[in-house]
Structures are given as C-alpha cells and as structure tokens.
C-alpha cells in the first residue's frame, strides 16, 4: 500500500456537454483521450493521470493530478467534435473532492 505522503494529489473537474446529440460514456472517454493525445502527446498525456470518473445526462467528472489541471481544462475546451458529431465542453468547476464538486452545483 502506498504511503499517504507518497500518494498523488488529485483534482476533479466537472464538465457539461453542449451538444444536440447524446453520447455514451465510452464515446466521451475516447473523445477526451483523443483530444489529450493530440494536444499533449503520448508522453504528456501519460503525466496527467487522467481518468474519466462518471458521465450522465450530459455532465461528467474527470480527474487528474494537481500539476495538470490547466492542461486538462484546455484539452477539454479544445474538443470540437466527438464521433463526428459537433459538440463543445464547458468547464463547470474544479475541486479536490467529488463531494465538493457536487456541493458547488447545489
């Protein structure tokens, strides 16, 4: 088990999808990773510890390490289409916990 001091600090980013189409979670994950790989490259993307946590009703949460928050925000904002369907991603909030993100929404 990793020591608490050695554990990487994470930030959770909530986003909202602005699109007329509806998407499955897998399509969103592919779209986000494609954008990150295009913008940051394979080495850069590997350093972000990116993970898509949940996606439901055009809203989702991704997480990354604290060093890469700005890079991930820009990557999400650069998405113009997913699966050849026009779409945009709006950043709703950044927090250290998922609970904190959901509190922001209320």
């Amino acid at each position: 088990m990793t020591k608490k001091t050695q554990r990487e600090k994470r930030r959770y980013i909530m986003f909202e999808l602005a699109s007329e189409e509806s998407f499955k979670r897998e399509e969103i994950v592919t779209g986000i990773w494609d954008s990150c790989l295009e913008f940051l490259g394979e080495l850069g993307a590997s350093r972000t510890s990116l993970w898509v946590h949940e996606y439901e009703d055009n809203e989702g949460i991704v997480s990354c390490n604290t060093r890469s928050v700005d890079k991930i925000i820009v990557c999400l904002s650069l998405i113009k289409e997913i699966d050849e369907k026009a779409t945009r991603i709006k950043i709703e909030g950044v927090s250290g916990t998922i609970k904190g993100l959901k509190r922001q929404r209320c």
Binding site: E38, S77, V94
Partner: protein, 188 residues
C-alpha cells in the same frame, strides 16, 4: 446556475460573445462589417496601417499584426488599443507596446481553430511573445475569440490557457480582468 469557480473569476473579454460569465464583452468586427451599436461594446479590427485614416468611432481599435514591419508600424500609433496576432515579436515592439500602452492579444480561438503543426507553431510563437512582453512590461490580454454561444469559454479556461503559455496564476488573472479594464478605462 453559475458555479463557484465562475463567481470567483471576474473577467472582461475584449473579443468574445456576450455571456453572463463576463462582466463586459467586446464584439470585434472587421472594418467592412462595422456598425456602431449603443447597447454593447464594439471593436473594429484593421488589417493595414493606412486603414487608420478611415477608422470609424468604435469603443476599441484592434490591429491585426503578422510581420515585424507591420507590427512596429501599428505599435507606433497611440490610437490603437490592442494588437492581435502580435508575432513575430521582438524587443523593439515590446518597448513600443509598453510606451504606448498597446495591449498584446493572446486569442484562444487561434489554437482552437488549428491543429497539428500549425497549432504547435502558434503556441511556440505565443510563448516567445509572452517571454519578451514580460521582460519589457508590455501589457498582455487573453481573449476567447468566441463568435457564438457554443464557443464561449469560461474565465477559468482562459486562465488555464495563460498558464500553459507560461504565465503565473496572478499574471493570467490580470490578463483577463485588470489589464482589459485598464484598456477600457484608457478609451473612456
């Protein structure tokens, strides 16, 4: 509902689309399509120095740079408020921009509308521009370049854009609020 993050960031977008996320938004059009509206801030963009003679009465005057010669010419006029597309940028231009208080624009749309090699070149040029501008204390502004409600970017996104180009958080925040505010105050 506006999220906590958006409440925290006061922002002025000098080239964008009206949105409640921003305190003030300036809509920029080219000289040919310009018409004065009293409701919102309007800016006019000129592409060549001789167009300055026939520039209409707008809230802000933007100049589109592109070459060293053109940039220096634009920066020598105090009438110009913002120089967009400021690269290739050098120390002479930086001194002129600082002396005449002409802001240099870093537009998010430039990297959004490009990809691959072109995007990498633009990012490289913007990064070099920032290094020179910081050294000579030339004012920098970050804009979204949005032209429709779908393309509006949140202030947090613009701060993140400034951060990846090499600005610190306080500098990036100044680029979206303090400096645009000064530019607008200078005009008024």
């Amino acid at each position: 509902m506006r999220s906590l993050m958006q409440r925290n960031y006061l922002a002025i977008d000098l080239r964008g689309y009206p949105s409640p996320l921003f305190e003030k938004v300036c809509q920029v059009v080219s000289l040919q399509n310009f018409s004065q509206s009293e409701k919102s801030l309007t800016g006019v963009e000129i592409e060549t120095p001789f167009q300055l003679k026939k520039v209409p009465k707008a809230d802000l005057i933007f100049a589109k740079g592109g070459t060293v010669k053109k940039n220096r010419k634009f920066l020598s006029y105090t009438k110009i408020d913002v120089l967009s597309h400021p690269y290739p940028f050098d120390s002479v231009q930086a001194r002129l921009a600082a002396a005449n208080k002409t802001a240099l624009e870093l537009c998010f749309k430039e990297i959004e509308s490009t990809s691959g090699y072109i995007r990498a070149r633009i990012l490289n040029n913007l990064r070099k521009t920032i290094i020179t501008a910081k050294k000579y204390h030339a004012p920098l502004i970050i804009t979204s370049g949005a032209s429709s409600p779908m393309t509006v970017k949140s202030p947090r996104t613009l701060v993140a854009f400034g951060k990846i180009l090499g600005l610190d958080y306080p500098e990036a925040k100044a680029c979206i609020y303090t400096i645009p505010k000064k530019v607008l105050e200078g005009v008024e």
